[in-house]
Symmetry: C2
Subunit: 411 residues, 2 copies
């Protein structure tokens, strides 16, 4: 059975084979698939820890049926978390982290778990801190278009709420039915409104985050102009939960457009439209296996990567296809072959990343680095920049308990 | 003689008494006016240092006629720098800083020196590093609207250049004829286009900065989407030269509007228009002395501060007037009295800052904290946030040579 799903980042509809309904048990454990990654020197969860968590979050400590929390949306990563904590307030997040930091227990923050780079699930047995129950809207100022809400609000719910007040939300993506705004901010989600409203770095007016030691950093301003000290909130935007856990955000929400224009193609039936729309993705899947990449490139090089890959791969692959967002330079590159092949993969990478780096592109346009791409960071960032990032990580999270094995390359 | 000048941040025309043409000699030294501020444990510039600088920057080491570099635009701060360095390249900035860091010589980066909070001049004898000669445009991509240029480009020059390519620059302010884009970015300048295009946090695509130790951090990306690691450039935006010296920036430049609408008032002559426009500022000056503040407030409290100050000050002041940018919550508050009075000042501050803090406003909407407002930071930022800022400062500039006595409160 085939199921059509919305692409998690660009709202395009893509074909996936039953992945939402299939069992997650067969997904290989990340620790098995990536044997080179070694577990850090963290504590293991004991009964006494569970008792403390239960006291802090009565009835909201899960230890059974954790498959959904342990497996990523693409079914490419599976962690072995034994406990999921579901706080309702910033104070509860603070209490959890203070405890975990003292006991050196590693944690992974999780929103809607819709990420595509393995950033939202554990690698080993990190404790999952889920924002599922932190879904309250704190305030809305209709005149200035300022929304303040908890991190666990689902993006589509926020859009519905705002719509009733003639406002809209400046970020939109395919996963909006399940992704959380805190996760969107933590991963600096891109999506289809970026060209119109700009990135979250410009649209997040403020945020509240809890540091690894439990300290609450309140930068939940609703002001458009505030030049008092360093703009700390910016560091949390896109840090993928490695510098702190975002518990609330303040967003600049533009007026809802009075009209939306839709273009119609003059073909004979609605089925034909679907057929055309799906042909690319479906065709790719029919080829067998698909190697997928999400990169940014300066416009003059936007399609060059497709041509370069065709030349390099020759008959080793069936097809090389690129499409995406010309407006913001985000290219979706797809290569197909009858089945997965290490030989093909080795021919693609790191050549592809080198090509992107040589053309001043980014190896991850929208999805972040997470677990799967962390060691490719040098293709997009300089050594001095990465060194600074590591220094910042050490400053914010000296025990390294926050989302380990993610974003930054091995220390 | 009275001179009409453009306000440095909001393009409004304000009256200033000959301040551009008057001698700067009479401006009191900052070290005298603020006797509580003690010089840090820095080295002093010796002849051997000057010889090194001359070797690094042949013919571009100034030691005479430094009044213009030592005095701020408002003529409220005067430093005692004995040397001004004028590098032309990032490599030269790097060489200077590496040397200064080793010798523990403090520096103050200076662009157009148009700041209003004493951030761009020395407090004691810090070495001025001027970006005056770093004014090259590096590249322009007309299709994607991406400009890359050195930090010392004058804002108005960039606008003229872009205008020839049917593009415009997303930031505009009264000082544009002399302020540098590097300084705009370093201070996160606001201005009159913020409501239309958003802040520099959303419009700066990349930047290059030199750290205190001379290391060059190249984040000069031109991509709109790049989610690879922490967005370090954001930290430099608004850090007022305390984390690194910005040497180049990459800007997202929107299309130049095809039409600009101008509103005309139906009055009898052009002189009347000027008269109306100038009446506020002129009236304030005629009252004697004017206490000026630049704050942000949530819209529901936008004018409340004016009323609160009127009630508090009673007959102690002649007038309390507020005007500003309703669109972005930026209020310009002015109080007048026949002459400067410590008694009046003590009645205004810290009450005013407390009021702004209690109403979730910002004590500095556009101007930054610089030297003059650094100890008021806690009125707008939490203790935990300021502690993080200090940690970041220590990480980036362990010897504290970059723009000391600015932005952060006394350590």
């Amino acid at each position: 059975m085939n199921i059509f799903k919305l692409c998690q980042t660009c709202s395009g509809t893509v074909l996936r084979r039953c992945i939402q309904t299939s069992s997650t048990r067969h997904v290989e454990l990340t620790s098995v698939r990536y044997p080179d990654v070694k577990r850090g020197n963290y504590g293991s969860v004991r009964d006494s820890d569970l008792a403390t968590f239960e006291r802090l979050l009565p009835g909201r400590v899960l230890t059974d049926s954790l498959d959904g929390y342990n497996t990523d949306w693409l079914k490419t990563c599976r962690g072995a978390s034994q406990v999921v904590l579901r706080p309702k307030s910033t104070e509860e997040v603070s209490a959890i982290l203070k405890y975990c930091n003292e006991k050196k227990l590693a944690v992974v923050p999780q929103g809607g778990n819709t990420g595509l780079v393995g950033g939202s699930v554990s690698v080993f047995d990190e404790i999952v801190i889920s924002t599922q129950l932190m879904n309250n809207i704190i305030s809305l100022d209709e005149i200035s278009g300022t929304l303040v809400c908890q991190a666990g609000c689902v993006l589509a719910s926020l859009e519905d709420y705002l719509s009733n007040h003639k406002l809209t939300i400046p970020v939109d993506l395919g996963a909006k039915g399940s992704c959380h705004i805190g996760g969107n901010v933590a991963t600096n989600a891109g999506g289809v409104r970026l060209l119109r409203y700009g990135s979250l770095h410009g649209n997040v007016l403020g945020l509240e985050a809890v540091l690894a030691n439990g300290e609450v950093v309140d930068c939940l301003s609703t002001l458009r102009k505030d030049n008092t000290g360093y703009d700390l909130k910016q560091l949390f935007i896109g840090s993928e939960g490695t510098l702190g856990i975002i518990t609330a955000v303040s967003l600049n929400c533009p007026q809802k457009p009075e009209a939306v224009s839709v273009a119609f193609l003059g073909i004979s039936s609605i089925l034909n439209i679907w057929s055309m729309r799906e042909r690319i993705a479906e065709g790719l899947m029919h080829d067998g296996y698909c190697y997928k990449y999400d990169v940014s490139l300066p416009l003059q090089s936007f399609y060059g990567l497709v041509e370069a890959m065709r030349e390099r791969m020759g008959t080793m692959v069936t097809r090389v296809i690129g499409y995406g967002h010309v407006g913001d330079g985000n290219l979706h590159l797809n290569l197909t072959s009858p089945e997965y092949s290490t030989e093909v993969m080795d021919k693609i990478e790191p050549f592809l990343y080198d090509w992107v780096a040589n053309h001043k592109g980014s190896i991850s346009a929208e999805h972040g680095l997470g677990f799967k791409k962390k060691n490719f960071i040098y293709h997009s960032k300089s050594k001095s920049a990465v060194r600074l990032m590591k220094d910042i990580k050490h400053t914010f999270d000296p025990n390294m308990i926050l989302n380990p094995y993610k974003v930054l390359p091995d220390f």
